[in-house]
């Protein structure tokens, strides 16, 4: 099967964007991948050997977390496994704003927000 390597992990996989493995389970595929490219291990697994929480694994169209057998799921040669780190974030919550480094630009925007609140628009 083919394992697709996401952009941030390619430097730890000899620059490859895909790696072919011959394993028969998802866990086996990851094991084979990290044996060939050991530098990937710390990016994929915790020190306890579990897949890091922000690392998503998709077997074809399915999130491996939601497969009945999870990482023990059997795979075939035609399957693909995508490794996708999560992407999320967002602006600071109200109580955290005061701790942010002040800037002229930030203050301008704050005034705009206050003005909006004051006028009730």
């Amino acid at each position: 099967m083919i394992i697709y390597i996401p952009t941030p992990l390619r430097p730890f996989a000899a620059g490859k964007d895909a790696v072919e493995v011959a394993a028969v389970t998802v866990a086996g595929a990851l094991d084979e991948l990290t044996q060939v490219h050991p530098a990937l291990r710390k990016h994929l697994f915790t020190s306890e050997g579990k897949v890091r929480a922000f690392v998503n694994l998709y077997l074809n169209e399915e999130d491996v977390r939601y497969l009945p057998a999870k990482e023990a799921t059997a795979i075939s040669a035609n399957d693909t496994l995508s490794i996708i780190p999560s992407i999320a974030g967002g602006g600071p919550v109200a109580e955290a704003r005061a701790t942010m480094a002040p800037s002229i630009e930030l203050n301008i925007i704050r005034r705009a927000a206050l003005s909006r609140t004051e006028t009730g628009k």
Partner: protein, 146 residues
């Protein structure tokens, strides 16, 4: 020093997306190619914000959508080089949440401040470092070409 290079069309599309979703955050991916000087972006892809519980100050792209975006990028011979999102009525500065939730080392994170529905400033931050433990955001110039 790295820089993020993109066309004016892509730059405008990112900012327009932030205005479109105001007062909620927008988000999307940047597709391009890695160069010695940083990412050269060919196109942007809008994504849905799956944080419907707190869309005004949080964003998340569902992993399923990310997989589809990456597959499409591969078909075009491109890579995901970064992501963008907006900060409604806040600065174009990364937040502690942005850093904590950033895992695409070597990629650019673009933030647009949208004040009262108008995009006012766009910054790009390279997620530098080699591991989760020493990752950091570094402000990088945005080079916009016509």
């Amino acid at each position: 020093m790295s820089a993020l290079r993109l066309s004016k069309a892509v730059y405008d599309a990112i900012r327009a997306h932030g205005e479109e979703t105001y007062p909620n955050e927008c988000c999307g991916a940047l597709l391009g190619q890695s160069t010695a000087e940083g990412w050269s972006i060919d196109s942007s892809v809008k994504a849905g914000n799956s944080r419907t519980d707190s869309a005004h100050n949080r964003y998340r792209i569902s992993p399923g959508e990310l997989v589809r975006i990456e597959r499409e990028a591969r078909k075009q011979g491109l890579s995901i080089g970064g992501f963008y999102h907006s900060h409604p009525d806040l600065s174009a500065q990364w937040s502690p949440t942005d850093l904590a939730e950033a895992h695409w080392l070597g990629c650019s994170y673009v933030i647009t401040a949208v004040a009262q529905g108008k995009a006012v400033l766009t910054n790009s931050f390279l997620l530098a470092g080699e591991t989760e433990e020493n990752k950091r955001f570094e402000l990088e110039p945005i080079e916009v070409s016509e």
